[in-house]
C-alpha cells in the first residue's frame, strides 16, 4: 500500500489560451476540438512539451456534440504530445475548467501524477443541434423494428412539428428561467444598482485593455485563425455609452431592471489550458514555477424555488474554503471573481460583506468582508474578455498565476459560478 501521509505542492507552470471572440464571428467555422487543440499546441510550444508523456490532460466543453464523447483525448492526439498521454472529459457547466484544474492539482499533490494540463473550450457558433425528443423516439423505434412493416408503422408517426431542429437551451432545465433572468432576481433582491454594474463592466474593459497595452498577455495567448486579441474588448467604452443601453434581463422589473448586454457577458467562442506539475517535474524540465494551486471547493445552492440565487454558490464555497485554510479576504493579494454578470460579482461581494447573510446563511460569527475593490479583477475579466463557458477557469488560473509570480507566499482568490446553482472557489499562492 502506498498511501501518502503528506502531500506535495501542485505547481502552476503556465497557461495558454486562444483569443476569445464573440459568437458567430471569427471562429464560426471552428469546432471545439479545433480550438482546444490549438490552445494545447500553444502551451506545448511555449513549454517545449513536444513528444512528452504527461500524467493526464483533463478538460471539457459545456456545449458538446455527442460525437465529441472523447473531446480532450481526441484533441491530445492532434498535438505533438506523446500519444500515450491519457486524457478525460470533465463537465461542471461554467466551472468545468476549474474542476478539471482543481482535480488535476489534487492528483499531483497525492503523487499519483507528476504533470498535467487542465482547461476547457466552448463554441456557441458550433453548438450541437439535435432532433426533438419525439423524432428521436420514433427513429429509435424504427431502428428496433424487425420488419419493414414495423419500421414503416413507426416512421408514419413523424409529424412536421417533430422535424424542427433543437438548439441547446439557455434556460435552467428546472425553472425555465434564463441565467440572466435568474441573476436579475438575485440582483434585485440585493439592491444592486445599474450604476454599480456599469462601473464594474467599464473597469473590466479598462483593466483588460491596460493589461494588453502592458504586454501582460504576450505569453498567455497564442493567435487563432488570424485573431490575436479578445475581440469583445471595448477600450473606448464609457459610462455614458453604457448608460444608453436598454435592459436585457429582468425586463419584467420595469424601471428597476438593471442588467444590460454590456454588464452581462456576451456569448463567446474560445479555449484555454493550464500546465501543472510537481516541483520536481518542473525543475527536471527546467520550467518556471509561477504559483501553487493550494485548495479549491465546490458549492451548490437550493435555487429551484428561489431559496437562494442561482449564481450564489461561490459565496458558500468560499466560506468553507477560507475557514478550512484559516484565511480571511484581507489575506489575499488579488481577487478574481468571474464576471458572469457584473451583478454576480457584486452580489457575492455584498453577501460576504453582509452581517446577516454571513451569520444566518454561512453560519459564521460575522461578516467575511470587506472586500478591497482595488484587488478585484485587476487585469480584466469575463465582461471584457468574454466567457467561452468551460474555458474561463483556465483563463483565470493562467492569468492569476502570472500575477502572483515573483510574490512568494502572496495569495490569490478565485470564484466561478456555474449553471445548476453550482460554483467553485480556489486559492493559489505565488512563488
Amino acid at each position: 500500500m502506498s498511501t501518502p501521509t503528506t502531500t506535495r505542492d501542485a505547481v502552476i507552470i503556465g497557461g495558454n489560451r486562444i483569443p476569445f471572440v464573440r459568437a458567430h464571428g471569427a471562429y464560426a467555422k471552428a469546432s471545439n476540438q479545433d480550438m482546444l487543440t490549438s490552445a494545447l499546441n500553444g502551451l506545448i510550444a511555449r513549454f517545449g512539451l513536444q513528444g512528452e508523456q504527461l500524467g493526464t490532460v483533463a478538460g471539457g466543453a459545456v456545449m458538446k456534440h455527442s460525437k465529441n464523447f472523447n473531446l480532450v483525448r481526441e484533441s491530445v492526439l492532434g498535438t505533438p504530445l506523446d500519444p500515450k498521454t491519457p486524457a478525460y472529459d470533465v463537465q461542471m457547466a461554467c466551472a468545468t475548467g476549474m474542476e478539471a484544474i482543481g482535480s488535476l492539482a489534487n492528483k499531483i499533490k497525492l503523487g499519483q501524477i507528476d504533470s498535467a494540463v487542465g482547461g476547457g473550450v466552448d463554441s456557441i457558433s458550433d453548438a450541437p443541434i439535435v432532433v426533438t425528443d419525439e423524432l428521436r423516439g420514433i427513429l429509435m423505434e424504427a431502428n428496433r423494428a424487425k420488419t419493414a412493416g414495423q419500421r414503416l408503422k413507426a416512421l408514419a408517426k413523424i409529424r412536421p412539428g417533430h422535424l424542427v431542429p433543437q438548439a441547446p437551451g439557455v434556460a435552467e432545465p428546472r425553472t425555465g428561467l434564463s441565467m440572466g433572468d435568474h441573476m436579475a432576481v438575485t440582483a434585485h433582491a440585493w439592491g444592486i444598482t445599474r450604476q454599480e454594474q456599469d462601473e464594474l463592466a467599464l473597469a473590466s474593459h479598462k483593466n483588460l485593455a491596460a493589461a494588453y497595452d502592458a504586454g501582460f498577455f504576450d505569453d498567455l495567448i497564442t493567435p487563432f485563425q488570424g485573431v490575436a486579441k479578445d475581440n469583445n474588448l471595448r477600450p473606448d467604452s464609457s459610462m455614458e455609452k453604457l448608460a444608453k443601453l436598454k435592459p436585457s434581463f429582468g425586463r419584467d422589473l420595469g424601471e428597476e431592471a438593471t442588467m444590460t448586454a454590456a454588464n452581462s457577458t456576451p456569448l463567446t467562442d474560445g479555449a484555454a489550458a493550464v500546465l501543472l506539475g510537481s516541483e520536481e517535474w518542473a525543475d527536471a524540465h527546467d520550467l518556471p514555477k509561477l504559483a501553487n494551486f493550494v485548495d479549491y471547493e465546490e458549492g451548490a445552492v437550493d435555487f429551484v424555488d428561489g431559496a437562494e440565487g442561482l449564481l450564489m454558490a461561490p459565496a458558500y464555497a468560499a466560506a468553507r474554503m477560507l475557514r478550512r485554510n484559516n484565511l480571511t479576504f484581507e489575506d489575499f493579494e488579488f481577487i478574481e471573481i468571474h464576471e458572469a454578470f457584473a451583478s454576480t460579482v457584486l452580489a457575492q461581494i455584498k453577501a460576504w460583506e453582509d452581517e446577516d447573510f454571513c451569520r444566518n446563511k454561512l453560519g459564521l460569527d460575522g461578516a467575511m468582508g470587506p472586500i478591497d475593490r482595488s484587488k478585484l479583477n485587476v487585469n480584466g475579466s469575463s465582461l471584457a474578455a468574454g466567457h467561452p463557458f468551460a474555458a474561463t477557469g483556465g483563463r483565470i488560473v493562467g492569468t492569476l498565476a502570472k500575477m502572483l509570480h515573483g510574490k512568494p507566499g502572496k495569495l490569490g482568490f478565485i470564484s466561478v459560478c456555474a449553471a445548476g446553482g453550482q460554483g467553485i472557489t480556489a486559492i493559489i499562492e505565488g512563488r
Binding site: 412539428g161 434556460a171 425555465g176 432576481v185 429551484v304 424555488d305 428561489g306
Partner: protein, 297 residues
Amino acid sequence: MASILTSYRKAALGALTSKLTSNGSLRALSSDPEEISHPGASAEQLEAYRTLFGGEAFDGVHRSRLPSVLVHILGFPLQLQLMTRDDFPLQLMGLVHLSNQVEHRSPIAQDQPLRLRAHAENLRPHRKGTQVDIVTEVFEVQAPGAADEAPLWRGVSTYLSRGVFLAGKPGGSEGSRSGAGFTPPSKTAMWTLGADEGRRYAAVSGDYNPIHLSGLSAKALGMPKAIVHGMYTAARVLEGREPDAAGHSWSISFEAPVTLPGKVAVAVEKPDEKMQTFTGWNPKKGRRHFSGELHLP
C-alpha cells in the same frame, strides 16, 4: 361509461336545447351520483404523463404512485358523464373551470383497481352566473356489500356557467374580481408553452375540449386563441413537489386563461415546511393566471 368524446358530442347537441324549465328558471340539482369501477392507471398512462411534465421516472421503487392530477384525469370522464345527464341543470359546453381542491389522503398505485364516484352539489350564484361543485371521490375496491371506507382521494371541481342565473336570486358576490391590484411576487420559474401544449395535455388526459386544441377550434367557441387546460398548470406546479406517499392536499384557483403559445411567470413560495403557495401570471401584462396552495403532511 360514456367516453369523453361521446360526452362532448352529447354536450354539443345539448347546447342546441334549453336547460331551462318552462318558467325560465334552472332545474334543481340532482345529488344522484355517477359511479364506476376503474382498472387503474396503466404504466403507459404514467409514462405519457411523465413525458409531458418531465418529472422523475416512475421506477416502481422510489416513485410508483399516481400524481394527484392523474387521479383527477381518471375521474374526469365520470364528471363529464354527470354533467351531460339530462337532469344536470347547466350546459357543459362553455362551462368555466374556476377552481379545484384535492385531498390526496392515501397513495394510489399503478394498475390499482378503483371505484370512482362523482356527484354535483352546491349550485349557487356567482357574480357572472351560476356555479356548481362536482365532487369526485376515489375508493379502494371493496368486497361486495361492504361499506366504502374513507376515499383515497377527493377532489372538488368548481365550474361556472356564465350568464345563467338562479331563479329569484341576484348575481352572487362570490367570485368578485380577485385579480384586481395583483402585484406579482418574485418569480422562481418561467414556463414556455408551445402552441401544441393543449393538444399534448389532451392526449394524456383524454380531455379534447376544442377550446384547448387549436386557435380555430377555440375561436369556434368564442375564445380568441386556444387556452391551456387549468389542470395542466396544476400538474406542472405539483410535479416534484407533491409526496409520492400522499397525505397532502392542495387547491388552485384559475383566473385569466393562459393562451397558447405563451409564457407564464411562476412563483413558488414556502412560508413554512408544511405549506407552499404558488402563483402564475402573464409576465408581460401582469395578469394573474392562477394561484394556489399545497399542504404537505
